[in-house]
Symmetry: D2
Subunit: 354 residues, 4 copies
């Protein structure tokens, strides 16, 4: 219960530091009998991988996953699925500038205070490199949830905001550009903007919107483990996330109840979907959609003042190969976490009735 | 693990339907030796109570809490604290209009689908009446966290938004008005607006902002149980909540890293606090602040079309005594959930080092 | 997670001290749709009740359970079932002899050391009175497990040991005598022996054997949460229990593998059942049977030397109305804990396969 | 929560099949700052290793552990410790006789029924090979619990029972013989007996006794998570275990309370220790001791009748290299599980008081 597990019945536990020998995880509770497509897992990992385009970090990491257990003759066996991704590109790094000082808005300082010391290499456990394990597990969860369709995309970069509802978008375009924005025109603007930010050695934030379709009615465990509450926790656990809203979200507060309510059709679907597919914490069969706010990456390739462990002022130069904007690579992570939540709640829902 | 427990070490489990015999809960893991002020618990309950002002529901419920166990000679004993609030005002109600039809944007429909049937009286388990138990537990958590200061207030009602940072506000004014907004002038406008909404038989949404001060450094359990992730889950588990953001939140996405980063002072504090008191999922000792979006209450006192269990169209007239705007009464609930998270993470943090 | 919850999906949390206002609990995760027989719950409670015969404590406690929630129109709703048993007979007691000294082999000393002080009235939380809540929950679990048959009985008192296998016994005789031993002749001897022990002001230990029939194949969650491991934990959590064995148990260690192995019939049943219905931690459909060792009750009605809080020697006289032998009243508790384990594992087993 | 995790705060999750690529685990919640002796971990693994003496299985498995994370510059970092043991000797095996039939008193049949199919190679997940991961984690737990002394030994093989109390034994002799019995004379008899059993192609059961010294007062979380209840569950989760008793155990049932009670010394220690170091589920500072019964290994090297998947009778010849008696190699496993319980409860005990 020390924070590195997610889920109750479909449960992922992860391990690994940015520059340790390996990172990976264990999925416990994955039902037996799922025919597992290992290439699909690697495909999802590649969507998260560094170096995939000009607007992401240029580090070279093959990110090849090795499955150790829980799969036999191509199918899950019901026993825990252990997996690892070995680190291969971490040896030559120079971390002396990180070792001796605390980077602003990073986790360096709090790790030192919490644990007494820290593995400073590449940010250690606080690095977003850990999310590779989530993508592996999320891909397995997706394969379990074969009928459910989870699609995330970049809806905002800096102040450039996609002002269309998700129904107006062509999801097949998401993977057609480096930003992962389904509006090709907007995608191009965003890409240029990220490039200009990168040139400045600066970074910029963004928003990812995620849509989940074909969700069965009845997922969610009130009063605390409401479906959207767990989705929110899942998203907020991703590095750099500052906010979460679903359905009408923050904009909904300005509406009147008579406007906001979703009237029923006779088949139980609703005419509008400001509820975002969840009512009272339980899925109602309509599309679930939510947005996730990512702050600008803290590592800027500029000179900055900070302090060292002794509390002395030091001036440091940001260096290395970092993402100027995290959202393009975070799209598969958002999907993975959504899949983990859905897989877990699908299993929980099997226990609701006699 | 069926959704009615919150927290790992300081753990609340609640029970109770809106119109059952009683609602209440058990706090397991509350440390021994806390001198418990029972009047303080009742005071917090009264802040949530119906009928406290002209802009909230006019139901009459005494909401008197009875502590059954876990307290001896005025102090917590380390054993579970059982408590109950008996329902006294539920007998004469007429629920026939709810029994036979599904209210739009309520949980009626999904409860029926999930569990096969439902206790329809007053919304049953999905009623916000359940949050009374949270307020009791939160008050005990607050008393455990004696050094930590948790203050929530209404920062938006409909489109009326308080455009001041929390540092500019006088928190001692929060309880001076019915809205629980610390800006007296804005509070008055909000109050009048809510009254006008009420007259229309309609409802309106709002935002609550919460500030937590004097938090020790080191609370939070990455990578999944990050402090802000659990806070987000806690808030999203409250009835009618549609969004959560902390620190710079959604506005932060439009900032550059060089602007957004919080530079250190030599004592480890930061010059700015866009991080919102949490870095890498761990408290850094700065103020934690976050905002919670509440949708307009679904129950409108107007005539509306909906469907019944058989999927037939029916026209229904909303009736009863409901809140035109939920945020004034939700302030102590937000504080309670924040206190529960902080209490839990304070205990977890005791286990980080040898 | 502070020790007062049992089970993962069918989860009981209890509260209450021996002489507090009330004791009770919450069952979270009980599936919806169980038609609940409240008289059956009270019947089970009465089997555990003090004063039911000449060989148990003569205290008068009505032990009437009140269900607060989770049941509507006679059926479970899927929401948490809160219940309480109010204490009515605790006021006139005199506890001064307990308050100031530590009774040998009781929990007085360790509670003081662990929590800093204790509710000394009647043993506080460490009293077996808490098991009344388990019996309530166990009775609900039994009603969920309608096809499973759980029968426990006293198989040993002191050195008087029933030397028959359970197949030779007539379970319908269990409730026909005060000892709850299905062998009437042996029951009479045991009863007389307990009466003689009582006259001495002394106490004696015993063994309860429990048989579970009609268990579906497949219950148990290796490698840690094996079915028999959880049953063992459940039994060891009952007051005064010192040992647990299932199937061939301790006697099995002296057997050779060729003798001990249970050969299969062609329908998957086994010719013998030394496995005790569990193989590899998973039920195999054969009868589950196990034995539970209870030590003699620590409270003897004799004069004894002990120490007080200051570490000074004191001489104390045991008094009050206590059980000379705990096993007759513990039979429904053993059954209740077995039912809770089976209910939980039945729900878990729903998640094993796609 | 699917059964492959153990512990709440010091939490081990394991993965791996007998003949998969690797087995291993993750320890989450290990406190930061423990100086880790990796050779000590390997030493414990070697105590469990096949091929270490003439009376254990002659398989060749190097069982070399690789630590992937959570350790930096020789110390634990507070982040999860991932580890793996790669399988190297599993390729040439012939499993056809297992694939098509169910071995009596093995888990083959129930795995097929529970999960729909199974990884039959070497018993898959149900093989005791999984306990290697427990030994790794247990060794780390032991290093955390530096003041606590955990010593297990073989006290019975077949009907050969060590009739001395543990106080009369010289624990330094445990590792001096292949059986791991501290009484050298008895050890030699046991060894010869096991050799004769092996010659018959048969197997025999045994008992391991474990003593834990220097335990702090106050470990244990009543009412369900009593210290001895968790120890019992831990032991019962080990392959082939059929029973658990602590303190006076099953023999205690024949004693009177006046004989059984442990009188206090003025320093809070007790003159006798029939309680086995635990009262009311909480450690009292005295030695904890308990015994664990192991059945004879099910795999006998003889011809036997059984059934196949189709329910047809088949005659099979047991083959391969198996342990004639499991207890010598199980000694470090018992110690490991005890260490995991103690580590977990040590952390939990930090949260009892303000």
């Amino acid at each position: 219960m020390a924070g590195n597990s997610f889920g109750q019945l479909f449960r992922l536990t992860t391990f690994g530091e940015s520059h340790g020998k390996a990172l990976g995880g264990i999925i416990d509770g994955c039902p037996a009998g799922i025919t597992l497509d290992l290439e699909q897992i690697q495909f999802e990992l590649n969507r998260r991988k560094p170096g995939q385009s000009a607007i992401v970090t240029q580090r070279k990491e093959p990110d090849t996953v090795e499955i150790y257990s829980g799969v036999f003759e191509g199918k899950t066996t019901g026993t825990p699925i252990g997996f690892a991704i070995h680190n291969t590109n971490q040896k030559s790094k120079d971390y002396s500038h990180i070792k001796d000082s605390y980077r602003p808005s990073h986790a360096d300082y709090v790790y030192d205070k919490k644990y007494g010391f820290r593995d400073y290499r590449g940010g250690g456990r606080s690095s977003a490199r850990e999310t590779a394990s989530r993508v592996v597990a999320g891909s397995i969860a997706k394969q379990f949830l074969s009928d459910v369709k989870i699609g995330a995309f970049v809806s905002q970069v800096g102040e450039m905001k996609l002002d269309k509802s998700y129904q107006e978008l062509d999801f097949s375009k998401i993977e057609s550009n480096a930003v992962r924005c389904p509006d090709t025109e907007m995608a191009q603007k965003m890409e240029e903007y990220i490039k200009s930010i990168k040139k400045e050695g600066d970074t910029i934030g963004g928003v990812i919107t995620c849509v989940i379709q074909n969700v069965p009615i009845g997922l969610g465990e009130p009063v605390f483990d409401k479906l959207h509450a767990r989705l929110g926790e899942a998203m907020l656990s991703i590095n750099a996330v500052k906010g979460f809203e679903y359905g009408s979200g923050f904009a909904g507060v300005a509406m009147k109840g008579s406007e906001h309510n979703d009237a029923f059709n006779t088949d139980g679907t609703t005419k509008t979907n400001r509820s975002g597919g969840v009512q009272g914490g339980i899925s109602n069969g309509m599309d679930i959609y939510f947005s996730v706010a990512f702050k600008p990456v803290a590592t800027v390739l500029q000179s900055y003042e900070t302090i060292n462990k002794e509390g002395e002022k030091v001036t440091t130069q940001g260096k290395g190969r970092h993402d100027p904007c995290v959202v393009p690579r975070a799209v598969p992570i958002v999907e993975a976490m959504a899949a983990l939540v859905l897989a877990d709640y699908s299993l929980l829902a099997r226990t609701n009735k006699i």
